[in-house]
C-alpha cells in the first residue's frame, strides 16, 4: 500500500469533479434498482391479480410497473453519459499533466523515450486508466452498492437470510475477481511479454522482408514470424477458457441465490394469501441483478494492465534543472564565446566535448564538421543552454547563456534534421514561430522560402492541412516550411543541425541557397555532414573526439589543408 500513498495520477482525479463521480455511481446503482423493481412490481402485480382483486387494488402497482419500466433505461442512459463525461474530463486533466511532466524534459524527450514508441505507449496508459474507471471501479462500486441495499432490505425481514444473500453477492464481487487475479497473474505477464515478442518478430518480418525474400526460405520466414503470435494466441485461449469456467461458477452462485429465494419465500411468505402474493416479486427481482455482477470479475481481471499503466505514469518525474537567476534577453550582441567548455552526461560517461574554446562574432557564419556521433549536436545543445557544461561556460557578451533560458527564443532559432509538422493547417504550423504574426507576414515568410507556388496549388492555400489527402511534403519542403517558422521567429542567432541530411544534392543545394539568402545578417552555427554549402560560410571548424581539430576560413583550408582538400574533392565528385 506504500505506493498508493505516493500515487499521484489516480488519487487526485477521484477528488476532482467528485459530484459528477458521485452521481454517475448513484445512477449506476439506480439503474439496477429500477431493473429489479420492475421485475419485483411485475411479479407482485401478477400474483396479486391472480387473486382477482378490484382494479383499484392494483392501480398503484400498474403505475409503478410502468414508471420502473421507463425509469430503468432513462437512468442507464443518463448514467452512461455522466460516467463518460466524467472520465473524459479526467482524461483532459491527465493529458495536460502528462504533457507538463514531459515538457520539463522537452529538449530530450525524443532521445529519452525513443525505443519502440514510448510516447505512444504513455498516451495509451491514459486510455488504460480510463478503462480502469469504466470497467473496473464503476462496476465494482455499483455491485457493492447493490449488495448493501439488498442486504439492508432483506435484513428488514430476516437478518440471517440477508447475511446469507450478502455472502453470496460478496463472493461475486470479491472472491471470483480475486480468484481470477491469482490464476491469471502470471499469464497476463506472460502475454504482455509475448505481445512484445510478437510485435518485434512481425516488425522484423515486415521491415526485413527484402532480405527474407531473396533467401527463399519462406517456411522459415513463416515459422519465425508466427512463433510468438501463435504462443500468444494459445495463451489468450487459455485465459478465455479460464474466464468461461469462472463465469460458470458465477452463474452457479446466481442460481443458488434464486433457489434460496424460492425456499425462503416458501417458508416465510406463505402464511396468508396477502403475503404469498409477494413470492413472485422476491424471486423475479433476482434476475436483472445478474447483469450488475457478471462483468465485475472480468473488469478486475484487467487489473495487472491498469496497475502497470499507473506505475508507468507514476514513474515519470519532472526533470528539474538548476539554472542561475534568469536575465532579460538582449536585443543585440557582439560575440558568443565558448570558454574551455567540457561536457559529459554523468561522471562515469566518456567525455563528449573536451576543453573547447571558440568565439563567434555577430553576423558570422560558422560550419561545424566531423564524423557523426562525435559531439556536434552536443555542442549545439551546449550553446543553446539545453545542456549545462561540466566545466567552462558559454557566454554571450560575457553573460552566461544559462541565464537567458527564460526567453531564449528571442535569441536563438533552431532548425534540425527532422522538424516536426503538427497535423494542422500550414498557416498554423508556420505561425508557431511567432503567434502574433499576421496572415500577410506568414505568406511573406512562405514566399521567402519559395513555397508560395506550391501552396497556391493547394485547394485551401495556406489553410490546407499539412497532411491533406494525396499530398505530403517532401523532405526538402518540410525543411522549407520550418525555415519559414524561423523567419517569423526572427532571432539573431540561428543554429542549424544537419538540416539537409538525406536530401539529394539538387534539393540540398536549392535549400542551402534559400537558407543562406533568407538568413542573411544572422549569426549562424551550422552542423553539417558534408561540404556542400560550406564555401558560403565564414569559418569551418572540425570536431573530432570532442576536440576542435581545424578552425579556419573555407578558402584557407581549401588551399592549404590536405585532409580538407581530399574531402572536398570527394564531395565535388572529383575523386
Amino acid at each position: 500500500m506504500h505506493w498508493w500513498k505516493n500515487e499521484h495520477w489516480v488519487r487526485p482525479d477521484l477528488k476532482r469533479y467528485r459530484w459528477l463521480l458521485f452521481w454517475s455511481l448513484v445512477l449506476g446503482v439506480m439503474t439496477f434498482v429500477f431493473a429489479g423493481a420492475l421485475m419485483f412490481t411485475s411479479g407482485f402485480l401478477i400474483d396479486k391479480s391472480a387473486t382477482k382483486p378490484l382494479f383499484a387494488a392494483i392501480y398503484v402497482t400498474v403505475v409503478l410497473t410502468r414508471a420502473f419500466g421507463i425509469g430503468r433505461p432513462v437512468f442507464q442512459y443518463v448514467e452512461r453519459l455522466t460516467s463518460h463525461n466524467w472520465v473524459l474530463r479526467i482524461t483532459s486533466h491527465m493529458r495536460r499533466k502528462l504533457y507538463k511532466v514531459l515538457e520539463t524534459d522537452a529538449a530530450f524527450v525524443s532521445e529519452h523515450h525513443q525505443t519502440g514508441d514510448i510516447l505512444g505507449l504513455l498516451a495509451d496508459d491514459i486510455g488504460h486508466i480510463q478503462n480502469l474507471y469504466l470497467r473496473m471501479i464503476f462496476p465494482t462500486v455499483v455491485g457493492a452498492g447493490l449488495t448493501v441495499i439488498a442486504t439492508l432490505l432483506l435484513g428488514w425481514f430476516n437478518w440471517g437470510f440477508a447475511l446469507w444473500i450478502c455472502f453470496l453477492l460478496l463472493f461475486q464481487i470479491l472472491i471470483l475477481p480475486w480468484w481470477g487475479l491469482v490464476v491469471e497473474r502470471f499469464r497476463k505477464a506472460e502475454q504482455k511479454q509475448l505481445n512484445h515478442d510478437a510485435y518485434v518478430s512481425l516488425t522484423d518480418s515486415v521491415l526485413g522482408l527484402s532480405d527474407w525474400v531473396i533467401t527463399h526460405r519462406s517456411q522459415e520466414f513463416l515459422d519465425q514470424s508466427l512463433a510468438a503470435p501463435k504462443k500468444l494466441a494459445a495463451s489468450t485461449a487459455k485465459s478465455k477458457r479460464f474466464q468461461w469456467g469462472r463465469d460458470f461458477v458465477g452463474q452457479l452462485l446466481f442460481v443458488l441465490i434464486t433457489i434460496s429465494m424460492l425456499i425462503w419465500t416458501n417458508l416465510e411468505w406463505t402464511g396468508s394469501q396477502t403475503s404469498a402474493n409477494w413470492v413472485g416479486a422476491f424471486v423475479l427481482v433476482v434476475f436483472p441483478l445478474d447483469q450488475a455482477f457478471s462483468g465485475i470479475a472480468q473488469g478486475v481481471g484487467e487489473w495487472p494492465t491498469y496497475r502497470d499503466a499507473i506505475r508507468h505514469l507514476n514513474d515519470l518525474h519532472p526533470v528539474k534543472r538548476k539554472l542561475p537567476k534568469q536575465q532579460p534577453v538582449p536585443t543585440t550582441f557582439k560575440t558568443i564565446q565558448l570558454k574551455q567548455v567540457s561536457f559529459r552526461y554523468t561522471p562515469t560517461d566518456p567525455e563528449l566535448i573536451t576543453d573547447i574554446d571558440l568565439t563567434l562574432h555577430a553576423g558570422e557564419k560558422m560550419a561545424i564538421l566531423g564524423p557523426s556521433g562525435m559531439g556536434k549536436t552536443t555542442l549545439l545543445q551546449l550553446v543553446l543552454g539545453d545542456l549545462t557544461p561540466t566545466t567552462g561556460q558559454v557566454l554571450i557578451d560575457g553573460q552566461d547563456v544559462l541565464t537567458y533560458q527564460q526567453n531564449r527564443t528571442n535569441l536563438f532559432a533552431v532548425l534540425d534534421q527532422s522538424p516536426f509538422l503538427f497535423s494542422t493547417s500550414i498557416i498554423n504550423n508556420v505561425r508557431l514561430g511567432n503567434e502574433n504574426a499576421s496572415d500577410e507576414e506568414v505568406a511573406a515568410a512562405l514566399k521567402a522560402v519559395k513555397l508560395d507556388k506550391l501552396i497556391a496549388q493547394l485547394p485551401n492555400g495556406m489553410d490546407s492541412s499539412v497532411e491533406e489527402a494525396g499530398f505530403a511534403f517532401s523532405g526538402g519542403e518540410r525543411q522549407r516550411l520550418s525555415l519559414a517558422r524561423i523567419l517569423l521567429q526572427d532571432a539573431p542567432i540561428v543554429l542549424l543541425d544537419e538540416p539537409t541530411v538525406g536530401l539529394d544534392p539538387i534539393t540540398e543545394q536549392a535549400l542551402l541557397d534559400t537558407m543562406f539568402s533568407v538568413l542573411k545578417g544572422k549569426t549562424i552555427l551550422w552542423v553539417t555532414h558534408h561540404l556542400q554549402g560550406v564555401s558560403q560560410t565564414d569559418r569551418v571548424v572540425f570536431l573530432e573526439d570532442g576536440r576542435l581539430t581545424m578552425n579556419d576560413t573555407p578558402q584557407h583550408l581549401a588551399e592549404q589543408n590536405q585532409r580538407y582538400q581530399n574531402l572536398y574533392a570527394l564531395d565535388a565528385g572529383l575523386r
Binding site: 401478477i46 400474483d47 391479480s49 391472480a50 400498474v62 410497473t65 410502468r66 421507463i70 430503468r72 433505461p73 442507464q76 442512459y77 452512461r80 463518460h84 495536460r96 504533457y99 507538463k100 522537452a106 529538449a107 498516451a123 510485435y199 518485434v200 512481425l202 516488425t203 522484423d204 515486415v206 522482408l209 527484402s210 525474400v213 531473396i214 520466414f221 513463416l222 485461449a237 478465455k240 477458457r241 468461461w244 460458470f248 434464486t258 424460492l262 416458501n266 396468508s272 404469498a276 413470492v279 434476475f287 436483472p288 564538421l369 557523426s372 516536426f420 497535423s423 517558422r485 544534392p505 539538387i506 540540398e508 555532414h529 561540404l531 554549402g533 570527394l570 564531395d571 565535388a572 565528385g573
Partner: protein
Amino acid sequence: MTMLAGFALVQAFVILLQGKFLAEGIVHSWNRQSLAGLWMPLGLFALAFTVRQLIVWVRNRIGARFAMTGSAWLQEQLLKHLYALGPAAVAKEGTGNLVTMALDGIPEAENYIELILNKILNMSIIPWVLVAYIWYENWLTGFTLLIMFPIIILFMVILGLAARDKSESQYAGFQKMSNHFIDSLRGLKTLQLMGISRQYANNVYEVSEDYRKQTMGVLRIAMLSTFALDFFTTLSIAVVAVFLGIKLMDGSIPLYPAMVALILAPEYFMPIRDFGTDYHATLNGKNAMAAIWKVIDQPLPTDTKVLPAFDGWQDQDTLSMQHLDFTYNDKRAGIHEADLQFTGPEKVAIIGASGSGKSTLLNLIGGFLQPQSATITVRGTKVPHMTQAAWQDHLSYIPQDPYLFADTIAANIRFYRPSASDGEVRQAAKAAGLSRWIETLPDGYETRIGEGGRGISGGQAQRIALARTLVDTNRSIWLFDEPTAHLDIETEAELKETLVPLFKNRLVIFATHRLHWLNQMDRVIVVDGGRIVAEGTPSELAAHSKPYQALVHEMRGEFNALVEK
C-alpha cells in the same frame, strides 16, 4: 456450424424449461403449498439452469476453437502473401499498418468470427422458440412480444444511422483532435524550440475538452440506440405484466401461463440486447478482416521458376531487358520503354533527380516489382519478370537504411547463409571493416542489435549489411540504393574505401546521388521521368551527353565553381 446451431436450439429449449420450472415453483408457493412439494420444480429449475450454462460453456469452447483456427489461418495467409508480394507491397501498405494488421487485426477478426457464431446464432434461434411457447400459453402476450422485435430493430437502425451521420460529419475534426495529444508529445521538442511549450499545456487541455464536448455530442445520439433497445425491452415487460394482470383479474387465464410469460419475456429480449452491446466490437473486427482480405486478394507473381539455377554471374552472362514498362497505381512516375543490358561483372551507376525512377528500376531488376510488359532474357532464357528464385539467389540488395534484425551481430551477418561458421562470419566482418569495432564491444559478435538492442550508427549498419552479403559467396550481383545518402562525408569516404575493392568480379548496380561514385563505374545510366535518357562510360557521357552534363552540373551545385577553376 450446424453443431453450434444445434446447441443453440437445445439451449433455447433448456431456457424454456428453466422458465417453466421456476414459474411452477412460484405458483406452488403462491398456492401456499408446503416446501416438500417445492423440491421437485426447484431441482428441475436448478438442473435446467446448470445445463444451460454448460451449453454456453461448450458453445464458447467450440466457437473459440473455430475462430482461432480461422484467424490463425488468416494470419498465416497474410504473411505468406507478404512474402510472395515482396517489399514493394509492404511499402505500399505502410509497414506500421501491416504490423498492426498482423498483430491487432487478427484478434479483432477472431472476435468477429466468435461473435458472429454466438450472438447471431442466438438471435436467430432462441427468441423464436421462446415466443412460440409464450404464444401457445397466451397468444396476446406472444403477439405483443413478437411485434416489439421489429420495432426495436427499426429504432436501433434509425438511431444507429443518425449517430453514424453525426460522427461522420465531424469525423475529420474528430480524428484530428484525438491525434492532437500524441502529436503534441511528439512535437514537444519543436514547441520548446519555438518557446511555446509551456503555454501549450493549456492548449492540450483545451483541445482535449473540445474533444470531450464533441464526443459527448456524438455519444448522446449513439447511446440513444442502446436506450431505445432498453426502453422497448423494459416497457414491453411492463406492458406484458399489466396485460397479464388484467387477464388474470377477469379470470381468463390462470397464474402459471402468466408467470411463465413474464419470466420468459426478458429471456426473449436477451439475445438482441447482447448483440446490440457487442455491435461496435463487431464492426472493428469486420473492418480488420476486410483489410486483411484486401492484401490476401492481391494477385501473386507467377512463373517464378522459369530461370534455371546457375552457378554465379560469369564473364559471358547477360541480362537484357527491352521495352521495360511499369506504372504505379498512384501518381509516382513509373518506368517507360527502358532498354537495359548487363554483361558479366561490371559496375553500373544509375543516376537521376529524385523521383526520376532510379529505385523503381532497381526494384524491377531485383524482382521486387514486376513490369507490365517487357522482353527479358537472362543467360539466354526468356523470363516474364525478374522475380526468379534462381536470380534472387545470387542477389544482394543494400538500401539507404539496411534493416537489422532484432538478434545478435553474428546472427545478422549469418542471415543469408545460416550455416556459415564462426570463422566465416569473422572473415566477412573483417572484409566489411567491422572487426575492430566489434572487438571493442563487451559482447563482441554476440552483441544484440535491432529493436531493443544496441543502437547502431548508419555507417556500421551499412557495414553489417555488407558483411551479410559477403558471407554468402553465391551473391555476386549487388544492388545498391543510395547506400551513403545520409552518412557524413568522412564515414562515406571510409565506407567507399572498403567497398570499391569488393566490387571486383561482381555485377554492381548502384543508384546514387553522389557524384564521386561515378568515377568507380564502368557505365552510367541516366534516368529522367522514368525514361533512360543517356547511357555510356562516365567519360563518354561527360564529353558528349547533354542530359548527363546538365544533371551532373545541377547535382554538383556550388562545387561547379571549383571544377571550373
